[in-house]
Amino acid sequence: MTAGDADSAVQRHKASIPSLKAKDYKSDVKPVWCPGCGHFGVLAALTKTLAHLALPPERVAVVSGIGCSSRLPAYLAVHGFHGVHGRALPLATGLKAARPELTVIAAGGDGDGFSIGGNHFLHACRRNQDLTYIVMDNEVYGMTKGQASPTTQPDWCRSKLTPHGTGIRRFQPAAIALAAGASFIARGFAGDPNGLTRLLAAAIEHPGFAFVQVLSPCRTFRPEQQAWKQQVHASELGPTHDTAQAAELIQRDDGLSLGLLYEQRIPLYAAGVAADAADDLTAAERLAAIEAEHCR
C-alpha cells in the first residue's frame, strides 16, 4: 500500500485490456429514476468515460450516499457501495486509503453532499486524496419528494416544508470547494454528454481530489430546470491555477457556466501511509518488534 506519488492511479491501469464499450460498464439493474431525469445523462457520461479511459471494471469502485442520484452504483458493472445518506466521501476515503491502486469515484446529490454531507465535503477537499467526487446537483431533494436543498434558490416556494422559500443564501459548491482546498473544480451539465465525459475523464485523471458539480435537472420536482439546456454556457474563467484569483472569479460566476474552473497540482494526501521502511524486516519480524516493546 503506497501513495503519495503525484501520478494518478489511472495511469497504471489504462494500458493493456481488451477494449470495452460504455455499455459494458452498465449493470442490468433497471434505474428507478423518473423518465427524463438528468441522472440518466450522468450515468451515460460516466460509462462512456470509463470506457474511454479503458479502466478495467474490477479496478473501479463507485461509492455513494442516499438519494435518487446516489442510486448510481447499482446501475454500473464496477464495484459499488450504496452507503448511507451523506457519507459517500468518508467511505470512498477509507477505500482509497486502504487500496490506493483503485480508481475510486464518489457520487451523489446536492442534498447528500452539501447538506448532511457538508462536513465531509470540506474535509475531503482539504485532504486531497486521488478521488473523484461527482455531485449531481438538481437543487432539490428528489428522493424525498421535493424539499429545498442547500443549492436551492432562497425564494423557491414549492416545497411544503419551506412554503415561503428557505430564505437562505445558496450554497456555492465551487466557492466552498476552493476555499476548502480542492485541487480540481469543474462544472458539467447532464444534458451535455460529450462535454461531461471530457470533464469526468479529466477529473479521474487529475492526481488529487477532483470535484465535479453536474447540473442534473430533476424533471419531477424542478421542471423549470429543463430551461438549463438553453442557459448553460462555457465558463469564461477558463481553468485558473491562482487560488486568490479563482476565489474572486468564482464569486462573480453565475453558477451555470460549464468547464474546468480551477486546477492545481499539489501533493497527494499521504499522511499515515508508510514511506518504504528503512529496514528490511519481514512483516512478522516487524510485528514481533512491536510486541517486544511491551515485554519486560
Binding site: M1, S27, V29, V32, P56, P57, E58, R59, V60, A61, V63, R71, P73, A74, L76, A77, V78, H79, G80, F81, H82, G83, V84, G86, R87, L89, P90, L91, A92, T93, G94, L95, K96, A97, A98, R99, E101, L102, N119, H120, L122, H123, A271, G272, V273, A274, A277, A283, R286, L287, A289, I290, E291, H294, C295, R296
Partner: protein, 583 residues
C-alpha cells in the same frame, strides 16, 4: 474490612501530589520496579478536572500473584503535598491499617486523613531532594515508599533508569540519588513487607495498558487501516497504533468526526483491508448509523468502545460499564451484530483480535467494550496468548453468476473485493435480493434478515465466550462482564477461602449470547450479576435472553469508583446468607 495481611497478599501504594509534583512518574517507576523485582502489578491513575497541571494520584497494587483489580483499601500513601487531597479521598481508602508518608513542608494533613485514624509519618521529601542537584521530592518518595513496600533498591534504581531514559543521564542520576535518600529515610520498623529477594531471572512479562493491548490485538489480527477521531479515554489506543501501523505498511487516518471514521472503516473493509477504530460513548452514538450499514451490507468492521462515565459527555476521565445497552441494542432496525467485552488489560489484545477475526468470518460489525479502567491502567503481568491467525474473507464460489448476498447453509455469503475480475457487486444498506439489487419484497427481506441472524447463531465460538472459575456445583455463581472480572474473581477467591463454593462466569462474548452455555455454566447455583453501571444493564440483558435462573440478583453500581472485591464479596455473602455474617 481490611484484606488479608500476609506477605503474599497484594499491597496498595498510592502517590499523590499537585500538578507538576510528579506523582504519576513516581507511580510509573514503582511499577517498573515491580517488574524488575519479578512481581505483578497494576497501576491506576486519577486526576482532577484541570486539563493539565492539576493534582493527580498514582495507585499501584502489586504482589507475587497477578493483580487484576483495585484493592479495597490503601496500605501506603506517599503524599507529596495535600493539594485538593479531598478529591482523592474516595479513591484512596485509608484506615487504621494504612501508613501515610507526608512532607511536613506542605502543612498539616487534611481533616479526612487525620480522622481516618491512619498511621502518619512525617518525611521530608522536599528537603531531602533539595540536598541533591536536580533532586525531586517525588523520587525521594519512590525510594521511601519502595523500601517500605519491600521493593529492592536495585529494582527501584533500574526502574528509574528505564522510565526516565529519554530525559537524559543527568535526570536519571539525580533521580537515583533521591531514591537512595528516600530508601534510607524509610524506617525498617515501618516496613509493610520485608524486601523481596531479587528473582533469579526476571520472567518475560507484559508491561502494557489496555489501550496498547487492544492496539496490539488489532495488529495481530491483521488490522491495517484505522480511522481515528480523538476522544478520552480511547485516544491513546489510536496514538499507539499510528506509528506502528505505519511500520506494518498500514494506514491511520485522522478523520473529521466519528461519522466519517466509521464509514471510512467500511470503505477499507469493502476494499478487503481489515479496519478498526476506537472511541468512547459519545463517539459510539455517532457511529451507530454506520455500524448499522456494516451490518446490513455485511461489511466487517470493528469498533472498540473504551467506556467512560455517562450519559452524554458524562465523566470523560472515569470508568463505567454503562454503554452495554447502546452496544447491544443501539442500532435501528433488526441488526444483529457482535458485541464482545475485554476481561482484563492483557485480554484487550485477545478480545480485540478475536473480534476482528469473527467480524471477517461472519461479515458483520463487532463492537468491543473496554473501559477507562482497562484502557488507561498499566499492568505488569502475563501476556495474552498469540493465538489468532490472520483473517481472510470468504472466497466466492465459482459456479454460476456471483451472488454476493446469496443464502447459504451457514448464513455466510460469498464475498469479493475490488480487483477480483467478474465479481463486482454493489454493497447496499437498502434491503436487497441475493444479487445485491435493491428489493422491498417481503421474501427477500425475510431471507436476508434470517440469514444475518442465522450466521451469528450458527457459528461455533468455541470456549472463548467466557472465562469461568470455581467448581461446577457452587452455591453461588457471580456472572459479570469486562473489567469487573478481576474484582469478581478476587471476591470469589476470598469467599472460597472462607469456605463458600463460588463460581464466576465472565462473559467475553455478549452478543450473540451463548445462552445455553451460560445456563450450563451457572448450573443450579444462585446468580449475582455484577456490573459497574446504574441501570443493571447486563442483568436486564440476561433476563431478556432468558439466560438467568429464578431469583437472580444484580449488584450494579455506577462509576467513577471501581467495584472493589470487598463490596462484591459482601453482597455475595449477604445473598447466600441473608441473616448477616461476612466472609
Amino acid at each position: 474490612m481490611p484484606g488479608p495481611r500476609d506477605a503474599s497478599a497484594p499491597l496498595t501504594v498510592a502517590v499523590t501530589g499537585a500538578g507538576g509534583s510528579g506523582a504519576v512518574t513516581a507511580g510509573l517507576i514503582l511499577l517498573e520496579a515491580v517488574a524488575a523485582a519479578g512481581l505483578y502489578g497494576l497501576l491506576r491513575r486519577s486526576a482532577g478536572p484541570q486539563i493539565r497541571g492539576g493534582e493527580s494520584a498514582a495507585l499501584l497494587r502489586f504482589g507475587p500473584e497477578p493483580v487484576h483489580c483495585a484493592g479495597d483499601r490503601c496500605d501506603l500513601l506517599a503524599a507529596l503535598d495535600w493539594a485538593n487531597h479531598e478529591r482523592f479521598a474516595d479513591e484512596i481508602p485509608l484506615d487504621a491499617g494504612s501508613l501515610v508518608l507526608a512532607d511536613p513542608a506542605t502543612g498539616p494533613p487534611p481533616a479526612a486523613v487525620v480522622e481516618s485514624d491512619t498511621r502518619l509519618r512525617e518525611m521530608g521529601f522536599s528537603s531531602s531532594a533539595a540536598e541533591r542537584d536536580g533532586g525531586r521530592a517525588n523520587m525521594v518518595a519512590v525510594g521511601a515508599a519502595g523500601a517500605l513496600a519491600g521493593l529492592p533498591l536495585a529494582a527501584l534504581l533500574d526502574a528509574a533508569g528505564r522510565t526516565l531514559a529519554d530525559k537524559g543521564q543527568a535526570v536519571v542520576d539525580a533521580a537515583r540519588a533521591c531514591i537512595r535518600s528516600g530508601h534510607a529515610l524509610a524506617k525498617p520498623e515501618d516496613r509493610l513487607r520485608e524486601p523481596v529477594p531479587p528473582p533469579p531471572a526476571v520472567p518475560q512479562r507484559w508491561h502494557i495498558n489496555g489501550n496498547e493491548a487492544a492496539g496490539l490485538g488489532a495488529l495481530r489480527a491483521g488490522v491495517r487501516f484505522v480511522a481515528a477521531y480523538p476522544i478520552t479515554p480511547a485516544s491513546e489506543m489510536l496514538e499507539w497504533l499510528a506509528p506502528r501501523l505505519e511500520r506494518l505498511g498500514g494506514t491511520l487516518l485522522q478523520a473529521e468526526d466519528e461519522l466519517a471514521s466509521v464509514n471510512m472503516l467500511i470503505g477499507s473493509a469493502f476494499g478487503g483491508v481489515p479496519a478498526l477504530t476506537a472511541t468512547s460513548g459519545p463517539g459510539l452514538s455517532l457511529m451507530l448509523e454506520g455500524i448499522g450499514l456494516a451490518v446490513a451490507s455485511e461489511t466487517p468492521i470493528v469498533v472498540v468502545d473504551v467506556m467512560r462515565g455517562g450519559p452524554s459527555t458524562g465523566i470523560p476521565t472515569k470508568s463505567e460499564q454503562s454503554d452495554l445497552n447502546a452496544a447491544l441494542y443501539g442500532l435501528h432496525g433488526d441488526a444483529p451484530h457482535l458485541v464482545l467485552a475485554a476481561l482484563g488489560i492483557a485480554d484487550c489484545a485477545h478480545t480485540v483480535a478475536w473480534a476482528v477475526q469473527l467480524a471477517w468470518q461472519l461479515q458483520t460489525a463487532a463492537i468491543v467494550l473496554s473501559d477507562q479502567s482497562l484502557g488507561q491502567s498499566r499492568m505488569v503481568g502475563e501476556p495474552a496468548p498469540a493465538t489468532v491467525p490472520p483473517v481472510h474473507h470468504a472466497a466466492p464460489g465459482d459456479d454460476g453468476p456471483f451472488r454476493r448476498y446469496s443464502v447459504t447453509e451457514d448464513g455466510v455469503s460469498p464475498m469479493s473485493v475490488p480487483g477480483e475480475t467478474g465479481l463486482a457487486y454493489t454493497a447496499d444498506g437498502l434491503e436487497h435480493d441475493p444479487a445485491g439489487a435493491p428489493s422491498s419484497r417481503a421474501a427477500d427481506h425475510a431471507a436476508q434478515l434470517d440469514k444475518r441472524r442465522h450466521k451469528l447463531l450458527a457459528h461455533d465460538y468455541g470456549p472463548d465466550w467466557a472465562e469461568i472459575t470455581g467448581a461446577a456445583d457452587a452455591e453461588l455463581c457471580l456472572v459479570t462482564v469486562g473489567a469487573c472480572r478481576g474484582a469478581v474473581v478476587e471476591a470469589a477467591e476470598r469467599l472460597s477461602e472462607a469456605g463458600r463454593a463460588v463460581r464466576t462466569v465472565a462473559l467475553r462474548l455478549l452478543a450473540p449470547l451463548k445462552r445455553q452455555a451460560l445456563l450450563d455454566a451457572v448450573g443450579g447455583a444462585r446468580v449475582l450479576v455484577v456490573e459497574q453501571n446504574h441501570g443493571a444493564q447486563l442483568f436486564h440483558y440476561l433476563l431478556a435472553e432468558q439466560a438467568l435462573p429464578e431469583a437472580a440478583r444484580a449488584l450494579a453500581r455506577p462509576g467513577p469508583l471501581p467495584l472493589r472485591p470487598g463490596e462484591i464479596a459482601a453482597a455475595a455473602a449477604a445473598l447466600m446468607d441473608p441473616d448477616g455474617g461476612s466472609p
